[in-house]
Symmetry: C2
Subunit: 302 residues, 2 copies
């Protein structure tokens, strides 16, 4: 069976220099699953409150996402409020309401325990391990994290990293996690914590992938109109892991293609608020943008 | 005949988080010509003072750079003093002494007027046109500029841009010149000023090339030890223009290869202070790093 993800489902309120959106569908698990759903079957583990409308769940189901692991609990759904300046690379959090997410204790449905590919979105590293320990025999495990856990739960995070094959974080997080400003040195340090592959997202500057033997630099798609970068990282991870789960090829060339596929999905996502742009893509649009990434970065040997 | 460059020769005093250098050889024309000299014959137009040691001129000659256009004038050589923080992308100028550069009025030796490829390094746009008007029939002209001329001599700069095929500037300069924060929109604006090709240097994030039909994104070489970014832009331009002058192929694939070649040369240059690293490269080192750029950015079609 396919790709298991655990993470958040949220209502986001976002302000960018180009507009704002109030209480729209968001959350790491949401962006991840919708993005991955273009490539593989996704099993979702998350929690929502009583206020979460059925239409959103129906949308996930319509994208063929298995929602058996989606708990509905008494209380309100997780809420995040953030703002971006003209430098769209960094979100400024204005408010976080954990609500039902505060006491989230994910229990995997029986069949989820057979998952071969697992993505631990950015949640408490204790929870990441709780989930992972319920999966019987995962073939490949990837994780995300953030400054909050790097500062507040480093020991637990390091325990999780020992169990993870691929870590997917941004450049600021990589520097902070390694305590090293140079990204190449930081990458070497982080690979010594356990992961065999480190993917560093650099927003409008693309993505670097390190595996200890080589470095891959994927460009970002040059966009004239970036409306809202919220969820770009999780959408990247969804495209990346979805592509890998689809092919079950974890060779370096496959990981490179997956990195570009993640970048393709993220490039769509930032073109509109919430998941508006990635709700209804046609697969040929995805293939066509992949080819644009190829044209963008291709040059001949001398 | 080959590649003509007009620009500055300077003594630089530079401080970076990794060390400092006092009164070392620098200047846009110096970095440019030495970098280009690995690919083609270079004719140098510049001015130095009485204090400029013969050994530096001998070094340029040894690199096969034609110094007939190098004037020696009464007074002191141009001096620049600058500093970089941990973000090595931006230089903070501490002091500039124009000295003999202040009344520089370049007169081309007769044979220089036959130049087919011309690079106007970052000098007063009036001077850039003065030089260009002395060249009889240039086939391709590239130029650099900086915030000082964008702010203080925009009209003159726009006149120069009408005569230029390729503009090579950094991202901050591109945004300032176009008055537009989005680089794609800024590029379109700048191409409307005259240049057919715009190259935007983004320091550790690589280079973008725009020609109105397509965009090329070249990666930067991930370096563990960047000692001194001084001259990286001119070294890039030297590799780029030197490669073009060598092949006289100005097709898009050739311009892409030239962009990578410029990036290769710049990646060497930042590994040491002054021109120390690019003084004595072997051509096979250059080819080998070009292949590393290829490996760094290669991915397959899906």
């Amino acid at each position: 069976m396919g790709l298991l993800v655990v993470g958040s489902i949220a209502f986001d309120s976002v302000k960018t220099p180009f507009g704002e959106a109030e209480e729209v569908l968001g959350g790491s698990a949401t962006y991840f699953s919708v993005s991955a759903s273009y490539f593989t079957d996704v099993s979702l583990v998350a929690v929502v409150g009583e206020d979460f409308p059925e239409k959103h769940i129906n949308f996930l189901k319509m994208r063929n996402i298995d929602t058996k692991g989606l708990e509905r609990k008494k209380g309100r759904t997780f809420r995040w409020k953030g703002q971006y300046g003209y430098d769209l690379n960094e979100a400024h959090t204005l408010n976080t309401e954990l609500n039902v997410f505060e006491h989230f204790k994910p229990q995997l449905p029986e069949e989820y325990k057979e998952a071969e590919v697992v993505f631990l979105a950015n949640i408490d590293p204790d929870l990441q391990r709780d989930v992972l320990e319920q999966v019987k025999n995962p073939k490949i495990v990837a994780a995300d994290t953030m400054n909050f856990w790097i500062e507040g739960k480093k020991d637990s995070l390091l325990k999780t990293l020992k169990m993870v094959d691929i870590l997917i974080i941004n450049d600021g997080e990589a520097r902070q996690l390694a305590g090293e400003p140079n990204l190449i040195k930081a990458a070497r340090q982080i690979l010594s914590y356990g992961p065999k592959t480190l993917i560093i997202k650099r927003g409008e500057y693309g993505v670097l992938m390190f595996n200890g033997r080589s470095i891959f630099s994927a460009p970002a798609y040059p966009l004239e109109n970036v409306f809202d970068p919220t969820g770009a990282g999780d959408t990247f991870a969804g495209g990346f892991m979805g592509y890998l789960a689809n092919t079950m090829d974890f060779s370096e060339p496959a990981m490179r293609r997956a990195t570009v596929m993640g970048s393709v999905m993220a490039s769509f996502n930032v073109e509109d608020f919430s998941l508006n742009k990635i709700r209804h893509l046609e697969y040929h649009e995805i293939e066509s943008r992949y080819r644009e990434f190829k044209r963008l970065s291709h040059f001949e040997d001398i």
